[in-house]
């Protein structure tokens, strides 16, 4: 994946002797259910490091992860993970650890037994040793002999991670791994994933929370409405997101007078008088937020309400797609 921001789908990498398969290769993959297209012609390839799969809920992140996990057959295109086709080749799972989003675990097993179950089915020579190491890795050594049913949500999540990394996989796929974790658990999980990435593993995690991705991922894939809206270095995409025009709704004692004053401000590039409110467009979120109170005071207008109208992640994403 390049460091530059590539709006819409980047070209597919064709595997060849000179360019062997990357740990994760997604080539022109689509998946539809009847008339509904969940994933639409997505291509990318990922190497070592942490990559965030970002998108609003229902954008197709889970479908994409399911396709990479070998749980769904692509309607079109191909997916390779660890050099194997993801669909219909159980051997692939030697290279892959999965942390699914679903809460479900074998609640009657202890954390240790769950890790050992995974180790045994991976055919490891020393399942007990591997399970002990994995439980230590996720910081669950003290609780490893308690049934998972008694774990908190965050502990359960870590037990799932222990099960996924027990066989030391090349690729780790995590679906919303931070859901339900408190800030401290979140930090230690991020630390763990960073460490694993530093060991040369390819880690892909999905999230609908921008800040999580920002704190952990060097690279990001943005999926909106089943399409790859952007991919590349996170900072570049973040800049795109903050530099976009922002829209505010303002209610005041005198909208017209405030509008006249605001249009003269360098951070404002558009003002519109709507019924009972003023819609202000600004190119600089921070500068406008700092300036509005001063402008109102100097013109003698009282501010009643100031609302950013399009701060939802969805609108950020749709802006990215529209670009």
């Amino acid at each position: 994946m390049s460091d530059t921001v590539t709006p819409v789908a980047p070209p597919a990498l064709e595997p060849s002797p000179a360019n062997p398969l990357a740990p994760i290769e997604v080539q022109n993959v689509s998946r539809w259910y009847g008339n509904v297209v969940a994933v639409n012609d997505i291509s990318f390839s990922l190497g070592a490091g942490v990559t965030g799969l970002l998108g609003p809920n229902g954008a197709g992140k889970s479908t994409l992860l399911h396709l990479m996990s070998g749980f769904l057959q692509p309607s079109a295109g191909r997916v390779f993970v660890g050099g194997f086709p993801a669909w219909g080749r159980p051997e692939m799972y030697r290279q892959v650890g999965l942390v699914p989003e679903r809460e479900a675990v074998y609640s009657f097993l202890t954390g240790f037994e769950f890790a050992r179950f995974n180790a045994r089915l991976q055919g490891l020579p020393d399942p007990d040793g591997a399970a002990t190491r994995a439980m230590a890795e996720v910081g669950l050594t003290d609780a490893q002999h308690r049934p998972i049913g008694t774990y908190s949500k965050g502990m359960r999540q870590r037990a799932k991670v222990a099960g996924a990394l027990v066989h030391d996989p090349l690729v780790l796929l995590l679906d919303e791994p931070f859901n339900g974790m408190d800030p401290r658990q979140r930090l230690s999980m991020m630390e763990l994933l960073r460490r694993m990435a530093a060991d040369g593993r390819t880690i892909l995690f999905s999230s609908h929370i921008l800040e999580e991705v920002e704190r952990l991922a060097q690279q990001v894939l943005v999926v909106v409405a089943g399409r790859l809206a952007a991919s590349g270095d996170f900072r570049a995409i973040r800049k795109l997101m903050t530099d976009r025009p922002h829209e505010f709704t303002v209610r005041s004692s005198d909208d017209r007078r405030l509008a006249t004053a605001l249009i003269g401000h360098p951070a404002v590039f558009g003002v519109e008088l709507a019924s009972g409110a003023l819609v202000v467009r600004s190119s600089d979120f921070a500068a406008f937020a700092a300036a509005i109170a001063g402008v109102a005071r100097s013109t003698g207008v009282s501010l009643f309400e100031l609302l950013p109208t399009d701060e939802s992640l969805e609108s950020v994403f749709s802006y990215l797609v529209a670009r």
Partner: protein, 248 residues
């Protein structure tokens, strides 16, 4: 590797309330046997005891208990994990799918045989104390039940991979197809696991039934083997193309 799947599946099944219910159901033949023994048989003869036992086993154990227990165990062996989503942890492993199907079948058949077989053994011993060919009769039934556990297990495990409503489909097969239609139309018997069980238990030493006309043991074995292979093949095919439902 497979032993681990068997262990975890067995623990999963044992923890279910339905399994407990099956255990209670298995007590019914034992209770009836006790009532018969305490109340005394009408005839008081060895033949009377024998008749009672065959009637009890045919009507209650082979017709109801065996298929119902097998249905619950067979459909839950994969079904419970598919339902709660834990099947992901099983599928995301470099294990051949045939081994997974066989492991699940082993648990379903094993659990069915333990529950139904022990009910048969205890009820049989209570009724047949003193009957000369009593042990042979019980062994004959146990052989039939063992074969039936495997056949029903294979069919119901496959069914749980074919449809999300395996329990209802299985219940209709047991009650309507085997229970009703097969008793009216002799031709249907060829496609009834109950008939294979009866035929095989005959050959293993039961005999002397009130409702005779069972399938010859040879045919029962041959068709049973075909059913087993077909069920495993269908289950395997379904598992290989199994798509995991998404959470959202």
């Amino acid at each position: 590797m497979i032993a681990e799947v068997v262990r975890v599946t067995a623990r999963q099944l044992l923890g279910r309330r339905r399994t407990l219910l099956m255990g209670l159901l298995a007590l019914v033949p034992v209770l009836l046997a006790l009532i018969f023994r305490v109340g005394g048989s009408e005839t008081g003869t060895i033949d009377g005891d024998r008749h009672f036992l065959v009637a009890l086993f045919d009507a209650l154990i082979i017709t109801l208990l065996l298929p119902l227990v097998a249905l619950l165990m067979g459909t839950a062996a994969f079904g419970a994990e598919i339902e709660d989503g834990t099947v992901i942890y099983l599928l995301a492993k470099p294990v051949g799918r045939l081994r997974l199907v066989l492991a699940k079948l082993a648990v379903a058949a094993g659990a069915t045989f333990v529950i139904v077989g022990s009910s048969t053994l205890v009820a049989g011993l209570i009724v047949l104390a003193g009957v000369p060919d009593g042990p042979g009769l019980i062994v004959g039934y146990l052989v039939g039940i063992a074969v039936g556990s495997v056949l029903y297990g294979a069919v119901f495990v496959a069914l749980s991979l074919v449809t999300g409503r395996a329990l209802i489909a299985g219940l209709m097969y047991v009650l309507i197809w085997e229970g009703l239609l097969a008793s009216f139309f002799a031709g249907i018997r060829v496609l009834s696991i109950r008939q294979y069980v009866l035929g095989i238990s005959d050959a293993a030493g039961v005999g002397g039934r009130i409702t005779t006309d069972t399938l010859p043991a040879g045919s029962a074995f041959a068709i049973g083997a075909v059913v087993l292979v077909l069920a495993v093949a269908i289950g395997l095919r379904r598992l290989r193309s199994f798509e995991v439902p998404q959470a959202d």
